[in-house]
Symmetry: D2
Subunit: 480 residues, 4 copies
C-alpha cells in the first residue's frame, strides 16, 4: 500500500470533502470539474508512473523510515544521488505530462522544513524533527499527496508581516491551547492543492522577533474545517469548459487561493512555532530546492516546446530549414542550461546536520534565472517556428460543422501525408504551451521571482575570495 495505483488515488479522493469555490459557485465534487479534472489527471499520472516499469526506476525508492518501497515524492534527500534522481524524475514526468503535477512542492517542503526542524531542536530542545519524521512516516505508508503552502498574500509589499495594517496579510497563529494552535491567513498560487490529501504550510519569508506569531510551520488534512479553496482564473478556460480544442488533451494546471479561517492544528503536526530565526532559512531552503525542481520539470517541458516546434515545422513542410535548426539549437541552449545547472547543483550539494542534503544554491538559482528570463524566449521561438496559425485557428466545432468543416479541412492542410486534424492538434498544443498563464507566470514567479534568485546567488557566492584572486593576479598586496 505504500505505493498507490492510479485507481487507488482516484478512489482516495472520494473521502475528501474540501470547501471549494469556482467562478463564484461552491462546488461539491470538485475533482470532476472541467477546470480541475485535467490537473487531477496530472497527479494521477504520477501514480500510474509509480507502477510503470520504467517510471518506478525514478519514482520509487526504498524508505529509510519504513521497511517498504515508497514514493520518491515523500523521501528525504539523503545523498547527492537523491537530488540527481529527483531532477531526472521530474524531467521524465514532464515528458509524459507536458506540465505541472505538483507533488514536488510537498517533497521540497518536508526537506526544507526538516533541516531547520533539526537545527532548532538541537539549539532549543524542541521536538519538531521527531514530529516531522512521524508525519512523513504516516504519509509514506499511505502514499499520500502533499502540497506545500508557501506564498502569503502579503498585502503592502514594502511592509513586514507585523507592520501590515491588517495583521492577517501573512498567515499567523491567532490562538493556542494544550491541544494545538489556531491559524488565520491566506496562501495564494496553491498549485494543484485540491488534488492533494495533505498540505504543509511553510513561512513565506524571514521573520524577526516582532513577527514571531507568523513563524509557523505545520501540516493539515486538505479538507480541515476552516480551509477554503477559491479557484484562480487562467487563460484558455473556454476550452476546458467546452471540452474541445484543449491542446494538451489530458493534462492541465490550476492554482487556487486558500483561506485559513481560524483553522485548528494539533501540536503533533506543528513543525515550527515562534522560533522565528528558522523561518527565513526554511523558506530559503524551500526556494533553493524548488528552483532545483524547476530545473528538472521545466527543462522537460522545454523538450516538449522543442518537440512541438519541430513537429509544427515538419507539418508546415519546413523540415531541415537552416534558420529553424538554428532556432532549435538556441532553444536547446537554454533548456539544457536549466537542466545542466540543476544537475550540477545536485552534484555540489552538501550535507546538513539533519543528514538531509541541500543543493548548491548558486547553481540552483542560476538554473531558475534561465527559466525566469530566457525560457520566455524559448517559447517565443516555438511560436516563431510554428507560424501564425498558433494565434487563431477555427474550433473543432467548426470542423464538425457540415457546411464549413470540409472547407476548413481542405484549406488548413499543410505538408503531404499529415492530416489537417493532426496539424491543428499541434498548433493547439503549442497554444496551450505558450499561453497557459499558470505555467508561463510560474516560469517567472514560481519558486520566487528573478530578483530573489539574484539575491540568493550573490548571498551564497564567495565574492571576497574572487576579489583576492583578482588582486593577486594584478600584483596588489593585501594587508595581512
Amino acid at each position: 500500500m505504500a505505493i498507490k495505483t492510479k485507481d487507488q488515488y482516484y478512489d482516495s479522493l472520494k473521502d475528501l470533502h474540501p470547501t471549494a469555490y469556482i467562478l463564484g459557485e461552491k462546488v461539491e465534487n470538485v475533482w470532476e470539474h472541467p477546470l480541475i479534472s485535467h490537473m487531477t489527471a496530472s497527479v494521477a499520472k504520477t501514480f500510474e508512473m509509480e507502477n510503470d516499469p520504467e517510471g518506478r526506476k525514478l519514482l520509487v525508492t526504498k524508505s529509510d523510515l519504513i521497511d517498504e518501497e515508497v514514493s520518491r515524492f515523500l523521501k528525504f534527500y539523503k545523498s547527492p544521488d537523491d537530488l540527481l534522481t529527483k531532477v531526472r524524475m521530474l524531467k521524465f514526468l514532464s515528458h509524459n505530462i507536458g506540465g505541472c503535477y505538483m507533488r514536488c512542492t510537498g517533497m521540497d517542503a518536508i526537506n526544507s522544513v526538516g533541516i531547520e526542524a533539526y537545527n532548532c531542536d538541537q539549539k532549543y530542545g524542541t521536538n519538531y524533527w521527531d514530529r516531522l519524521l512521524e508525519f512523513v512516516t504516516m504519509m509514506q505508508k499511505n502514499d499520500y499527496v502533499l502540497f506545500s503552502g508557501v506564498t502569503d498574500v502579503k498585502g503592502d509589499r514594502s511592509k513586514r508581516p507585523s507592520q501590515q495594517t491588517d495583521p492577517d496579510m501573512y498567515l499567523h497563529v491567532v490562538d493556542k491551547n494544550n491541544d494545538g494552535i489556531v491559524v488565520r491567513g491566506a496562501k495564494i498560487h496553491q498549485t494543484g492543492s485540491l488534488c492533494a490529501h495533505w498540505g504543509i504550510v511553510v513561512p513565506t519569508r524571514e521573520m524577526r522577533e516582532e513577527d514571531k506569531e507568523y513563524a509557523a510551520c505545520f501540516a493539515f488534512p486538505m479538507d480541515t474545517e476552516g480551509v477554503i479553496y477559491v479557484y484562480g482564473r487562467g487563460t484558455l478556460e473556454a476550452r476546458a469548459l467546452q471540452d474541445c480544442d484543449l491542446g494538451n488533451v489530458e493534462f492541465s494546471k490550476y492554482a487556487p487561493m486558500i483561506l485559513f479561517q481560524d483553522v485548528f492544528v494539533p501540536w503533533d503536526k506543528v513543525f515550527l512555532y515562534g522560533n522565528y530565526e528558522y523561518a527565513g532559512n526554511m523558506v530559503r531552503n524551500f526556494g533553493n530546492y524548488h528552483r532545483h525542481s524547476h530545473g528538472g520539470c521545466k527543462c522537460g517541458v522545454g523538450d516538449i516546446f522543442i518537440g512541438a516546434a519541430a513537429t509544427a515545422a515538419d507539418y508546415n513542410g519546413l523540415t531541415r530549414v537552416s534558420h529553424i535548426n538554428n532556432k532549435l539549437a538556441e532553444m536547446l541552449k537554454i533548456t539544457e542550461a536549466i537542466y545542466g545547472c540543476s544537475i550540477a547543483a545536485s552534484v555540489e550539494s552538501t550535507e546538513t546536520p539533519s543528514g538531509i542534503y541541500i543543493v548548491d544554491p548558486v547553481l540552483a538559482n542560476t538554473s531558475k534565472l534561465f527559466e525566469g528570463k530566457d525560457l520566455a524566449e524559448v517559447i517565443r521561438m516555438m511560436i516563431e517556428i510554428a507560424g501564425g496559425m498558433v494565434a487563431d485557428v477555427p474550433s473543432d466545432k467548426d470542423f464538425q460543422n457540415p457546411e464549413i468543416g470540409p472547407l476548413l479541412d481542405k484549406y488548413l492542410k499543410g505538408a503531404e501525408g499529415v492530416s489537417t486534424a493532426d496539424r491543428i492538434r499541434i498548433f493547439r498544443l503549442i497554444e496551450k504551451l505558450a499561453f497557459e498563464s499558470r505555467d508561463i507566470v510560474s516560469n517567472i514567479h514560481g519558486a520566487g521571482s528573478p530578483e530573489t534568485h539574484r539575491m540568493a546567488i550573490l548571498r551564497n557566492y564567495d565574492i571576497e575570495e574572487k576579489k583576492k584572486f583578482a588582486k593577486k593576479l594584478a600584483g596588489i598586496k593585501e594587508d595581512e
Copy 2:
C-alpha cells in the same frame, strides 16, 4: 459625410450581411457577438477619435482626391510627413485602445498596391491606377473601413503556389469574363475583417510566370456572395463569453479566416491580374508599410505595458524600487527603438513614380525585428514587475459571492489607498496584454515573420558599399 461619427459607423454595419461562423455556429448579427463586439468597439473608437479635437489633428487630413477632409486611414502617403503622422496617429490610438483597431491594414494596402498599379500601367498600358483612384475616392467619400487580405493559407510551405497539390492553397482566379474575374482560395489571420465595409486582396508573395493566375489584387464588399468568415479561436474567450474579468474593459481583437468560394469581382475593382512581376513588390511594399505601422501601434501598446507595470508596482506598495526602475528603463529601450526606427523610416522615405512615398525598408524592418523578438521580453518584464497575481486571481463572480467575496476583498488588498477591485483590474489588464494570443502572435508574425524582416534588411542594405569602406580603411586596393 467624409468623416463618419461613431454612431454612423455602428449604423452602417446594419446594412451588411456577411456569412460568418463562430465556434461551429452560423451567426447573424455578428458584431454583437461577445467574441466580436469588443473589436467593433475598437474600430468605432477610431471614428470617435476622428471627431475628437485632439484626435482629428492626427486622424483627419485634407484629401487630394476629393475636396473634403477625409480619414487618414484612406489617404495616400504623399510626403515623409504623411508617414510621420501615420506613426504618431497609430501610437495615439494605441494609447486609447490598448490594442488593435485594424484600419491600418487597408491604408497600407492601398499605398502598396498604388505604387505597383502605377508602375504596371506605365510599362504595360493597363489602367489599374485609375481604377484604384476611383475606388479610393469612393471609400473616402463614405469614410468606409477597409481591411486588407494578404496572408494565404499556403499549404506546404516548401512549395510555390502553382506547385501545390491542391491549386487552391493560394487565392487565384478560376474564371473570368467581360464583367470580371472569379476567385477561389482562403485568407487567414484576417484581423477585424468583419468590422470593415470593404476588403482588398493583395498577393501574399512574389509570383513567377507559372503562378500567373495567383497574381491578383482586387477590392470587394465584405459581404459579397461566396465570402465566408470563420472565427479563429483565441485565448481568454471565457471572459468575453461570461462578460466579466475582461482586463481591457472595452476593447479586444479577433482574426477570422476568410474563404473565397468562387467570388465574382468586377473589372473596375481589379487592380492587378496576371502581371505577375508586380505581385512580389506589392506584398513587399505592404510588408514594409505594415512593419512601419506596427512601429507606431505596438510602441503605443508598449507604453501601456509600461504604464500597467508601473501601476501594478504602485498598487503592490513597490513604487520607486531600484530594480523595478531598471526594468522599466529596459522596457522603454525596446519600445522606443520600435518607435524611433519607424520615425526614422518615415524621415528617410523616398518618392516612387506614383507620387506615393515608400518608407526606408531597412529601418522599417529593423523596427519590426524589435517587435518580433524583444517586445516579448518587455511583456515578460511587465509580468515580472506585476508579480504572480497575474496568473490566477479569483473571478469577479467570486467577489460577488456573499460568502467569500468579503474575504477576497480583505486578502487581496495591496498598498494603502488602493481598492482591492482596482488592484485586480490592473492584474486583469496585464493578463490581457500578456496572454491575448492574437496580439502576442501578431507581434511575432504580423506583417511577416522575423526571417522575412531579416531578408528584407539584407536585401535593401548596400553591403557592397560597406565592404568598400572597410577595404579602403584596411589599405586594400580594389581593382578598378
Copy 3:
C-alpha cells in the same frame, strides 16, 4: 578662411606649444608622435572633407553669426534639420575614418552651454550668452578645432565635489580677480584634445550651493600655461610604435588626461561661474547631444564592422552562407536602431529659449543604450564571422622575412583571387575595430555610462501619463 584646408590645419598646429607627456617622456612636436599622429590624421580628414564636393554638403553650412560658410562643427543647432544633418555628417565621416575624429565634442559643448548661458542671463542678468556668441564667432572665423573637457577624475565616486577629501578631484575655481579666474583640477578621457586649437570646460555633474566653486564653464587655448596633457595608454600601441600591422592604416584614437595647474582664464571666456543651478543642465544637455552624436558616428562605425565581417567571409570563401547572413542581419538590427533612434531624436527635438534645439532625450539615450550594450555583440559577431585568425596572425615583419615570408604567404591564403596580404589586412582591420580599447570603452562609457542613460530615459519619459492610459483601459476610475 572660415573653411580651412587639410594643409592649413596641419600648418596651424605649428603655432601651438602644448605641454605633453607620453609614456613618461615630455614630447615636443607631439602631433608627429606615432601614438598621436593617426588621430591628427583623423581630424585632418574632416578638413579634407570640408573641401570635398560630397563632404561639404554635410560638413559646411551658412553661419548665422558671420556672413560666411562655416564648419558645421562650430554651428548652433537651430532646427531639427541641423540635428538630422549632424547625425548624417557623423555617419558619413565614420565611413571614411572608421573611428573617432573628436570634433563633435566641441560642437555639442557650445550648444549645451549656449542653452543654459542664455537661461542664466535671462534669470540673473549675467552676460554669458554674449560672451559665448563672441567666442563662437571667433572660432568660426578661424575654423578652429574645439574639444570639450567634461569628465573630471572624481575621486571617491560616492561623494559630491565639495565632500571629497582632496578638493581638487573636480575642477574648480581657486582664485579670481578683475581679469578672470584661476582653475585647478583634472579632466580625463580627453579624446583627441592635443589635436584641437581650443578647449571648452563643462561641469561634469549637477552641483549644489556648496559645490558653487565647481560650477565653472570656460574656454581656453589648448596650450595655455598650466595645462598639461598626459597620454593614456591603449591597446595595440606596439603596432603604431613599430609602424606595421596597423589595421586601420591611416587613422586611430587617443585620449589623454589633462591637468589644470592653476590655469588663468579671462572673464570673456567664462560662460558660467558660480551659478550652480545651471551646471547640471549643462552636462545633461551635453550628455543628450553627445549620445545623439554617437548615434551617427558609431552607427557609421557599425557599417564598417559589417563591411569588414562580410569581406572577411568573402576572403575565407564563405560568401552567402546562411548563418553568416543571419548574423549580418542581427548586426544591422543593432546599428540601425542606434541610427534610427538618433534620427528620431532629431525629428522630435524642441526649441529652447536660446533658439537652440535640444534633441528628444528619451530617444537619444535609447540610441546610446544600444551602443553601450548591444554594440558589443555586433563586434563579437564580427569576430565570429571573421574566424579565429583575428587573434594571432604573424606580423608584416614575418612576411618580409625571406625564410618564412613565402611560407606564410602560401599557408595563409584563403579564397581564390584574394591575395594573402589583403586577407591579412582585413583581419588586422577587424582586430583594430574589436580591440582598440579607447573605442570599445567609449562605446560603453563615452557620453556617460548606461546607468546614466537609463536614468535620463526614466526622468524624461512621462510615466504618469502612461499609468493613466493603463488605468483607463482597465476600467479604473481615477480621483479627480
Copy 4:
C-alpha cells in the same frame, strides 16, 4: 620523477631547440622572450601546483599505466569522476593564473584519439591503441607537457582538403617508408606550443576516402626537424616589450602558427593514418572534451572578471550599489551556466569501448555556447562596472616621472584607504582581461566556433523522441 617541480620544468626547456620566429626575427632562447615568457610562467605554475598541498588534490592522480602518481594532464578519463575533477582542476588553475595554461589540449587529445584508436584497432586490426598507451606511458614517466595541434589553416573554407588548389592547406602525409611517414602542412592558433615538450597532431575535420592522406594523427617532439614556429601577434604587446603596465603581472598567452616542412614521424608515434572514417570522430571527441575543458577554465576566469569588477567598484567608492550588484548577479548567471553545464556533462558522461569516458555532448556544447556568446557580455559588464579608466590611464612610466608622477598619484586616487597604484593595477588587470585578443577570440573560436557547437547539439539531441512526446500530448496517433 613522474611529477616535475617548477624548476625541473624550466630546466627541461634547456634541452629543447625549436626553430621559432617572432616579429620577423629568428629567436634562440625563445622562452625568455618577453612575448613568450609570461606563458612559460603559466605552464610553470601548473608544475608548482602539482607540488602544492591543495593543488595536488586536483592535479595529481594515480596512473593506471605506471605504478606512480602522475599529472592529471596526462591521464585517460576512466570515470565520470575523472571528468568532474578535470573541470574543478581547470577552474582552480584559472583562479591562480587568470588565463590559459594550455596543458588541457594535450589531455583532451590523448583521450579523443584513444577512443578512436581503440575502435579502429577493433575493426581493422591496426595497433594504434598500443602505440598510444606506450606514448602516454613515456609522457607520464617524464611528466612532459603535451600540446595538441588541431586547427589547420584550411585555405578556401568552402572546399574539402582534397579539393583545395594547394594540397597543403590541410596537413597531410606526403611520403612514407618502413620507418614512418613524412607530413607537410600548417597548424594555426597553437596556444603555448613553444612551452611544451611534445605535440600531438589531430585531424581538424571529418575526412572522406579522397581525403585519406589527410587522415593522420601522430606525436612528435616539439623541436623535431622541419617544425617551424611563427609567433602570431596579439594586442597589448607593447606592455610586455616595455615590461610595465602588464595587468596580469605574471601570466599571459600566445599562440603561434606551426609549419610542418616535410617532418618525419616514426611509425610508433603514428596513431592514425589513412583510416579516414575515424578522423571525424577524433576531432568531434576532441571538440566535445575541449568545450568541456573550457567550461572549467573559462568559468574560473569568469570568477576573476567578477572579482576584478567588484574590486574596481570598491576602489571607486561604489561598494554595494544596487545596479552594480545586479550586474554582478548577471555575470554570475553566465559563468555558473558555463560551469554547471560542464559539471553536468561530466555526470552524464558514458563509457566507450576503450574504457575512456566521453562527456555528454549536448551539455558540453551548451556550456561552450555560453562562453562563445554570453561571456562577451560578462566582459562588457566588467568594463561597465569598472568605469572609463579601463580605457586610457597613463603608464607606470608616467607615474615614475618626477614632474607628473606626483600629480597623477594625486588625481587618480579613488576611495579612501586604497593607494592610487593599486587602483591603477586593477584597471590594468581588467584591461588585460578584456582586451587580450588571444583570450577573447578563444572564447568565441576556441574548441570550435559557435556554429559548430550548435550543430553538435542538434546532432546529439534526440529530437525525434521529443517530437513523439509532443505528439502524444497533443493527441496525435503515430503510425506504428
